[in-house]
Amino acid sequence: MYAKYVVTRLINAVLLIMVTVLVLSTIFSSVSDRELKAQVEEQVLAAVRTNRGYAQLNETEKAQFRQGIRDNLYSQYDLDKPIYERIMKYTASILTFDFGKSLRMSSRSGSNEVKDIVLEALPRTILLFTTAETIVVAIGILLGIKAAQRSGSILDKGISVFAILSSSLPMWWVGMLMILIFSYSLNIFPSGGLVSLPPPTGIEYVIDLLWHLTMPLITVILVSFGAWAYTTRNLVIGTMQEDYITVARAKGVPERKVLYGHVLRSSAPPLVTMITTTILLSLGGAIITESVFNWPGMGRLYWVAIEEFDTPVLMGNTFVTVFLYVFAMAVLDLTYGLLDPRIKVGGRR
């Protein structure tokens, strides 16, 4: 039964991804049309400039020469085909993880394959955001439980207030403040970037990387853990009102075990799904925060692609994000079913 549910849910997710990609390709293709054509003209000019024999040609020959290159490029970018055909082709290639070549960017190894560029950015985002979110989840859950345990105490109220405050702050602005304080005023941490220039080697590289990592990491944690603690607190308090928790107490189960055994285990389905989605979604990076810290991960890549109007990179990155998101939603449904013995099938609803 469960296996069947998994299959249906995954098919559902794949369909959703396909529809989304189709819609996005339509938008991007129609918009990038003009951009691509301008791009082609640039490349034609570049070809003309670098071709030594060009100056010797007469006017018609010159025009022919230019048209030849142009046609060549048009067919390379499929600009000679009708737009719907391009959309379909584009969708198909995206769905087969073929994102094409970047128009303007290249990876550090010099490849201009979108896939390489994205794969270069992904581990950096994992290093920053996935690490940060893992710490956030850990701190948040621990604090949330403590707050629920002493509901109404100063700790509890403090956490609620902190959650309200921190969820009102833009993370990227906190990042700017951190730079102002720790880079400009105190000069403890670098203001941004992945490593110093020129990058050191060996163990020093790792230290340098961690040194660059610290401030963005602290920023993400500082802004995010309050909300986590608050959510956990509410979940735990909700569960603590269940009859079976009273029964566990009446059974003489020690308070610690009631909390970490019964309450937490019963709150596990929503918590675990929240953790899974948070971790999965962290892979997409945070566009603005990464831009503030000049952290060359997925988020900043996305931003650079927008600024440079590099449609293939933009599309590739969007697809990866959408894929992660939809996949996270599916996993969320599925873990719920796994963790709650009452729900073998049927998902969240």
């Binding site: 009859d243 009273t246 107490r249 009446a250 003489g252």
Partner: protein, 333 residues
Amino acid sequence: MKKAEERGASPKVALSVENLKLYFYTSRGAVRAVDGVSFEICCGQSLGIVGESGSGKSTVAFGIMNMPPAPGKIVSGKVTLDGVDIFKLPEEKLRKDIRWKKVSMVFQGAMNALNPVYTVKFQMTEPFIYHMGMKGNEPEVVERISKALESVGLKPEIMDRYPHELSGGMKQRVVIAMALLLNPALVICDEPTTALDVVVQAQIMNLLKELKRKTGIAFIFITHDLSIEAEIADDLCVMYAGKIVEKGSGMQVYKNPMHPYTQKLLAATPLLHKPVDRLEFIPGAPPDLINPPKGCRFAPRCQYADERCKTEEPEHMIEVEPGHFIACHSVRW
């Protein structure tokens, strides 16, 4: 209380509750849910606490366990269980030595009394771990769980199931089996059959009667149903608006109810085999326990109420016959 001696049960007092007060502190004021309740039970005996919704009967149970549900607080009183004044014990000792070991509970609504994410076995193992210092995987534990399940008429195999895989009656049996695991001195049954259909209810009642006879455990039965109490309670307390208005042996209360509330309540109970033309009812509604009436709490609904009833609370219960008490100014006997 004569009956107990006749049956040869030990006259040793299993539980005594003296002047228990448990208030809920809400934003509107203190709700006097249990307001000066006293009673005692002997070993092997059963006591019924009967009352309508909001009479505070379930809250008494939590008071005995010293587990007032939030925002409740025990204001005063003394609960002596097996010779131990449990309000004087530190929480840790209470947890280790009293709860479930000395007094266990069968909760209202078995559906919610079992944790949905744990198997029956896990939930039945816990008392052994926390009171007997066992690991929980010894064959002895499994053996005792099997025995307990069998004693309530369940197959031991069901211990590997999750609560949602059991029917309502089975869940109620599991909950009863769980309460008996450690052979406590007292089991409190809070509405043990309310959510069940009449046939299953009769089965569970039979089970409880058997257990009562076999085990020598003292039982408290809390319910709103006078008929069910009649089947099992040796002694009976009738509660109204946070107070006991009448207590005595089952025989005394049913045959010779003295408090106007008890009289009316019995007259309002339809009997299957003794049809009447007209059932009685009590006009009005129970009082608001934040601002209870000054005098007797039943006075506004009582046909015998006079000036004294409206101004003066019946502080002490009057013994109308040996072992039969009422809290009433007006009834003449």
